[in-house]
Symmetry: C2
Subunit: 418 residues, 2 copies
């Protein structure tokens, strides 16, 4: 069977299964999620045996130590997958919720009801735990899902899918609700992106080149997450200690992730007081500073920033620093170089806080808090499937509710249109 045919049949089966999943009660879904968690723990040895096949192949192919580390399934990986499943089971079920209801002059009662999207395709790299996390969120939201993980992780992903299938079978649910693409061939991705008849949404998770490839080839709507070039703006009258804490936490707490700080913008009135305090803390932590000319007047030890630094997503212990003459310049800089991901202001001024919140066009805008809070768990959405930096459908962290949509339901007593 050709790859196109395989993928097409998988997508058609997913569509059919999605009808059954959409009609599941919350209880049925949560029981299945809990049962999958138990089964993963019980079948730990079987999972790790398949994972060692992937690892063996990865070593033969000369993958880097970091890549092999991401690929490895340990006892703790399985515990974390099971924990994730139990967390998702505990989340509120969005399906069937009535968002709002109103009455029309002719007596019709109109409501918006949350419903699943249908079939979701997820294209991601390497880590096998994403297979379980993504499947759990999609399933809880009443969707069927087709998972295409990294080719290095195929054996691991397939054994995870088999375990999910065993549980779904026992629960009388269609196993096609959760499917893993059974080939390493890259053609499978292109074939998946052409199934607009069956698949409602594609979510790519991975580097920029993967996302660009998906956007360019997909006829299906794509929820994308490009890079996070995040900013903290320290306002003229900020509390200097608070500003240093927030900048430090935003940059250093986990520098390799998308909500980490990349460029610090500092009002010129506070620069002389703030920059030395900040530089001392960052210096001790081993962060390299790259400053604009005004920054370097105050911090001569800092390297000079070039035009390449302002749009850079370092994901590393490097920070660009720019002194600005006012908040307008900061907002303009963010608009020009930012990625609409996460931006924070540190200020005591009510009017500027308010204006920053309104005028900065990013998925999460914070006052006096770390950029590291742009995260579904931290913001209270529960687990997240990603952070959308495009504005359609969802902008910012996407939880289980963002994997649903709404339809209108209308209750009448024989009304016709005149």
């Amino acid at each position: 069977m050709s790859i196109e045919t395989t993928i097409r049949e998988m997508a058609a089966a997913a569509k059919k299964a999605s009808v059954a999943v959409a009609r599941c009660s919350t209880q049925e879904k949560d029981r299945a999620l809990m049962a999958i968690a138990d089964r993963l723990e019980k079948e730990s040895a079987r999972i790790q045996a398949e994972n060692s096949e992937d690892l063996k192949r990865a070593r033969e192919m000369g993958l880097t130590a970091a890549m092999i580390d991401r690929l490895t399934v340990k006892d703790s990986t399985i515990a974390s997958m099971a924990g994730g499943l139990r967390e998702v089971a505990a989340l509120e079920d969005p399906v069937g919720a009535i968002q709002k209801t109103w009455r029309r002059p002719n007596g019709l009662t109109v409501s918006k009801m949350r419903i699943p999207l249908g079939v979701i395709g997820i294209i991601y790299e390497s880590r096998p735990n994403v297979t379980i996390d993504a499947a759990a969120l999609c399933f809880k939201a009443g969707n069927a899902v087709i998972l295409r993980g990294g080719s290095e992780a195929l054996a691991s992903n397939q054994v995870l899918a088999r375990i999910v299938h065993d549980v779904l079978n026992e629960a009388g649910l269609p196993k096609e609700a959760v499917q893993v693409v059974p080939t390493r061939d890259r053609e499978a991705v292109t074939a998946l992106l052409a199934q607009e008849e069956y698949i409602d949404l594609i979510i790519p998770r991975g580097g920029e080149s993967l996302i660009r490839f998906v956007v360019e080839h997909s006829r299906i709507p794509v929820l994308k997450h490009y890079k996070g070039v995040c900013h903290v703006y320290v306002d003229a009258d900020a509390d200097i200690e608070m500003a240093a804490d927030i900048a430090f936490n935003s940059k250093v707490q986990r520098p390799g992730v998308c909500n980490a700080l990349e460029t610090l913008l500092v009002h010129e009135k506070i620069a002389e007081d703030f920059l030395p305090v900040m530089a001392e803390r960052f210096g001790k932590a081993g962060v390299e500073l790259r400053g604009c000319p005004a920054t370097r007047k105050i911090l001569p030890a800092a390297a000079g920033a070039t035009d390449a630094d302002w749009p850079a997503e370092y994901l590393d212990m490097i920070l660009a620093v720019k002194v600005v003459s006012d908040m307008d310049e900061a907002i303009e800089h963010i608009g020009k170089y930012g990625s609409a991901h996460t931006e924070a202001i540190v200020t005591k001024d009510y009017t500027r806080a308010h204006r920053f919140l309104r005028e900065v066009d990013s998925s999460v805008v914070l006052v006096n808090a770390s950029t590291r809070f742009n995260d579904g768990g931290q913001l209270g959405l529960g687990a997240e499937i990603g952070i959308s930096t495009s504005k359609l459908h969802a902008f910012g962290p996407m939880g289980v509710e963002e994997l649903t949509t709404t339809k209108f339901i209308v209750l009448g007593e024989g009304q016709v249109r005149t």
Copy 2:
């Protein structure tokens, strides 16, 4: 200048203008909309002069009478555009509204705030009034808009844009907030669909081939509206008079539109009583019936339906009729042949009404009411920009709120992540 360059510069200018429109107060926007309405009425002669250029060209090109009718701008067309503008001015402004707010254990206050999408591209056919209707809705929602109308209507669309520009200029707003593509060349559409750097959303309005072209060529998210193959299901215990009224209104009140009834599904227990009543009313109105074998046993005068009838969007005085053995068969038929647009049940049974509402996967599902109510105005959204039959972002009629998105705003007091 090449078409690509023209379009790219327009898109970049729209992006810039969108920042200013996003920051406009409700009052500024509403004043501008009212001023455009007044100006259109005042400049009626100028508009009709340009329109007659389009009409002259259309006649030379041999366009059909129906197409020329759609293209013609009369006094009443201008009155209707001005009326639409005043209606949109009266709508509630969604921008800046807080959807919900919650507090996290660490004291952070998290809210979702409505914000404009940014730049919207609208690709449509023929009718010049769409130029004003679409511009008004996009502008009210705080967006900039690029309009690409039918090539036959270029002179009309351009004079409308000039009038909008005059008003925006006088109000101190950037005229690039509303732009009309200044060429008939089809390349302009392809160029528009490639401006993913500047344009946030594309809305095609027109026939299926236009929509398919846009979906296949766009790198920008598309909100599409394919055909409406709408159903009414008459349940076993429906009130026969009510069922006949609803079926008749759904089919006949305006047969050429997407929310008109195309297939009537009738429970076998009520078929012998209902079908003759229904057939008499439809017969008098000149509707051709195409029935399944069971229908034709009761209505021997009806034509026989073929496989081509069930997925057909007639947009005409033709109705397919099928007798089903129960509601499950009706729901399955709708899932197989419907277009996720509008479906209604007529019933007295609470349980089946409830199940139909939950299980039918269409943008608007009604109990005991006409399918013709799937319309932004009728459902209380105000004016609408279209009816989305894809599930992402908006499903069903799209009003001014659906032309916005939300961002997260977070208020802290120095919180960092631990």
